[in-house]
Symmetry: D2
Subunit: 149 residues, 4 copies
């Protein structure tokens, strides 16, 4: 099972804590975590997953694995800038969106276009996104919906 | 000047007519039109622009220029599937969104992320999109905002 | 008909002159020229084609159309870095390689992989490349082989 | 450390055995293996690495992780077709090329363009490729050269 967590590269402490818990729960269920590999929500989810012993993949936009946050153990260096967003969502069995700005919105839209389950916590209000209120609910829904595909 | 028109690959007659008129006005102002090269809004805008003597570029998702609509005179065959969306918006001085579904939403989000002016007619209601009601207004706004960059 | 000309971003005067003549001949036959849009061979071919009244498309690796050489009239800004090479060759009915280094070699290899005709002047000696000695011969062969596809 | 192994999607038994041994040695040295995720050399290297307990990443060209060979434990689904080649080499600290055809040649060229160490076993004879004769020598050279970067 592969779960992608998407969200902005900077975030406040509350969102960081939510993302970290989401990452931890994903790893505890033995799924691989994919993110865009940078800071903010991507870092928090990776931190949580790594602490729980999980694999953390970062699909990086730039030219060097040095741009990955410190909790990525498998950095994939694409050099594709924002075009790497499609890889983040296409590789996932389900996508969890946490807060986020326009980059996250583009990923939500692409995920829905591809027919992937998209679970949202405090994120864009787009038809098709399954809204939840807690990390536990987010990860549970992600697994349930991914298993139905 | 390069204006990209984005919208769904299928659309009703009313939206088709709007897109065709937008394409015509873009070409009359001697701008190059870029679209994703397929049907619906992309075809309509290309049809209008070509009829007015303009260049019509199609940034195609697939593997063959045969997939371009008949009004594309410069087919660019990317083989990148939805990752080609970023090229459509990155190449533009301004983007005009007409109706559209999730693919269009991903392009609107990417365009806003890149700081491009985005003009919208009957499309997603996203902060940052400049809403207009007519083809004339859309093209006028697109040129005005592009010139300010 | 679309012909792509590939070659290094810097070149000596002799290679520049060859590429310029190749571009001129492509435009005289009313084909569209595609290049990677930068300097050297890409610039020379575009200069020749533009002088002959042809369309010159540049598939740019970076983030701004400002990086295009002055003879590109249709800049496509990909932001994909070297991944844009595949677009240059995939969009072509035939590819003409002039001199070139490792970037050109990657494009020759991709073009052969895709089954595109590849004509070479003073370039890499790879099985499958049709070697020629003059711009006239290069363009003639490119059109002949493209028409057989 | 990340080592990418490149080579054709089909190969004979002798090449398969070489690639499998290369994969095994990479994993024994605790490096992550990246390949294009398909058959032939990609499968063999992944098989060897997985048997030795290593992480095996497959950068897939298509739209589904189902296309990955059975020895990939981290499938990355790009949907980018041959444009995914650049990701395979850009993500690597060193690249080992085993036999291979035009796709492999494009990856060798891109790796050299990016300044990555490229070690070759029975592969294209291109200046810049470090030729070796055995899996042991290939992996040793790859680690030595990667560590010098």
């Amino acid at each position: 099972m592969i779960i992608s967590v998407i969200g902005a590269g900077t975030c406040d402490k509350e969102i960081y804590n939510i993302a970290e818990e989401v990452g931890r729960l994903i790893a505890q269920k033995s799924a691989t975590l994919i993110t865009g590999g940078l800071g903010g929500v991507m870092e928090a989810a990776s931190k949580g997953a790594k602490a729980a012993g999980g694999d953390t993949v970062g699909i990086l936009p730039g030219f060097s694995k040095e741009e990955a946050n410190p909790f990525i153990n498998i950095p994939i260096t694409t050099g594709l800038s924002h075009a790497r967003n499609i890889i983040v969502v296409r590789s996932a069995d389900a996508v969890i969106a946490i807060a986020g700005e326009h980059g996250t919105l583009s990923e939500i839209a692409l995920a829905l276009k591809l027919g992937k389950p998209v679970i949202g916590i405090r994120t864009w209000n787009i038809d098709g996104v399954v809204k939840v209120n807690s990390p536990e609910e987010a990860v549970q829904k992600a697994f349930n919906l991914a298993n139905k595909l």
